[in-house]
Amino acid sequence: MTSEIGTGPSVEAARAATPPSPPEPRWLDAYGRMLLIRHFENEMQRLFLKGEVHGTTHLAAGQEAVPVGVCLALQPDDYVAGTYRGHGHALAKGTDPAALAAEMLGRASGVCGGRAGSMNIVDLEHGLVGCYGIVGGSIGAATGAALSAKRQGRVAVAFFGDGAANQAYFHECLNFAVVHELPAVFVCENNFYGEFTPMQKVTGGRDIAARAAAYGMESSLVDGNDLWAVEEAAAAAVGRARGEHVPALLECQTYRHYGHSKSDPATYRPKEEVERWLARDPIKLTRERLLALGAPEGDVEAVERDAREAMDRAVEAALSAPYPEPGGATEFAP
């Protein structure tokens, strides 16, 4: 059985098991990256309400520690595949926030020239093979990227939600990765709701990490709001994937601060549950941990200032960029 949301013994154990770490510069950088994602999501919400972001959005505020922690364990040329809640996946892997913001705004300077929009981001330069608007799509993409990665000495990571654990992609591809010994890490961001439905109501066995065992795959249950815990679990999984071609499943338990999409106020979530998770905001936890580990407050504040300024610059650049001109597209690659 999976633990009760965010409080169960396995989560506590995972947290307690995290060894103390000196605040190396990369942890401060990671905090800055998390802040950038948080600012980005808040800005997208603001710009959506102003009519600058179109269609819909799926915001990942509250879930920042998962992609940032996992990407800390990756090399720049490793592959990731993200979801429709994928702004954090892109930013964590290195996508330029100005190019991502411009894409949200449908501008020509967008990372996909305004052709993709929020749910379909591709940034091959940073190893982001795609984000997928259909639940589970990232799992297939990362499995295939792992076929290439195996030759290239790289690793491929799939980010997906708890809902995807009930898709054929999940079951077919975890099995595929095991039997073909692929350097793939499957990262389930379990935010406990598949759209509006609690995962416990629609997930047989109620334990996503445990499903890996049926395929002979190793798995870890991770506190997804603890940056250090995510990084530790990811580093172990990535290391074995790269070195031994052993795939793994990480279930990172986390929580989204916004609703499922732009029109969802998320009233289906109990107030006390929301409050419990907001008290464990990963941004707050990371800041406290950095200070506890001895990071100078001035350094932390400098990171916070830089993230804010970087986001402001990104939005400013995106808002001033032109819209793409229709025409000039080719159906096929030459």
Binding site: R115, G144, S148, R151, N175
Partner: protein, 319 residues
């Protein structure tokens, strides 16, 4: 002379040999050599890294091919029967076909999906369909269907060298057909061929339909031109229009239902661009039912050579 199935195998072998990025995988394609014995020997020759068997997981197969194709490999996969293509559609339609465009041309998706298609083998409703028309409305996908051994080899090589996702349709009733192997080494996708020259009537077909049309043309004693489309998308309309400009009559033969079929698309495109050249145009397709099992039912269902000849006779005598 070479058998159709061996031509496919030779194309795969030559491309795997030529380009280290080419890999081939599917269900029972390696150790067993394929259920239609198309790929025996490839695994022994090229090893596990290049040719391998997979679980019976069509969605994983297509997802893996797509993910591999955008990261440097050139996968060829086999989805055993075309009917099974209903399972991996998300990966092919929503991922592979759209990648070039929505990524703003950051990268392409060089993958090929081989499948055995078509009726006539008493395989019943769900092992006999031709899935090309399910996919022909999807921008970014190419669809190829060869009609002869020489063409199969050259067209498959063209498909593997193409930087776009290609569905490659192999008609089950063609696997044992023998034909000359002295044609072009590679046929690029999107070029139709004139399989038989004539001046009275243009018959447009793909795959096994081309053989049937050629046989019907002989039987009719009519100067019929037969166009082998070779690819349904992109469609080489120019070759059809050029032919119709000379013959003024067009028959499209489709093994599949008329509704939503490729033949209706060709007829519509010819009407739009070449109406002034047309004296007559019609479609011979199948009944709007699933493909039946019993020999008497399936034989009546298939638009074979006799059905084509009968259709032409009836249409021309009525004119």
């Amino acid at each position: 002379m070479i058998e159709f199935r061996d031509a496919i195998r030779d194309a795969l072998a030559e491309e795997i040999e030529r380009d280290p990025a080419v890999v081939f995988f599917g269900e029972d394609v390696a150790a067993a050599g394929g259920v239609f014995k198309v790929t025996p020997g490839l695994h022994e020759r090229f090893g596990d890294e290049r040719v391998f068997d997979t679980p019976i997981s069509e969605l994983a197969l297509a997802g893996a091919a797509y993910g591999a194709a955008v990261t440097g490999l050139r996968p060829v996969i086999e989805i055993m029967f075309g009917d099974f293509m209903a399972l991996p559609m998300d990966s092919l339609v929503n991922q592979a076909a759209k990648f070039w465009y929505i990524s703003n041309e950051q990268g392409s998706v060089p993958l090929v999906v081989r499948s055995a298609v078509g009726g006539g083998g008493r395989f019943g409703a769900i092992h006999s369909q031709i899935h090309g028309t399910w996919f022909q409305g999807i921008p970014g996908l190419k669809i190829a269907a060869p009609s002869s051994p020489g063409e199969a080899k050259a067209l498959l090589k063209g498909a593997i060298r193409d930087d776009n996702p290609v569905l490659f349709l192999e008609h089950k009733r063609l696997y044992s057909v023998k034909g000359p192997s002295d044609g072009p080494d590679v046929i690029p996708l999107g070029e139709a061929a004139v399989a038989r020259e004539g001046s009275d009537l243009t018959i447009v077909a793909i795959s096994k339909g081309v053989r049937d049309a050629l046989a019907a043309a002989e039987e009719l004693g009519l100067d019929a031109e037969v166009i082998d489309l070779r690819t349904l998308r992109p469609l080489d309309l120019d070759t059809v229009l050029e032919s119709v400009a000379r013959t003024n009559r067009l028959l499209c033969v489709e093994e599949g239902p008329r509704t939503g079929g490729w033949a209706a698309g060709v007829l519509g495109a010819v009407a739009e661009a070449g109406l002034h050249d047309l004296d007559d145009a019609w479609i011979l397709a199948t009944d709007e039912t699933p493909i039946p099992y019993s020999p008497s039912l399936e034989d009546a269902f298939m638009p074979g050579a006799e059905a084509i000849a009968a259709s032409v006779r009836s249409r021309l005598s009525a004119a």
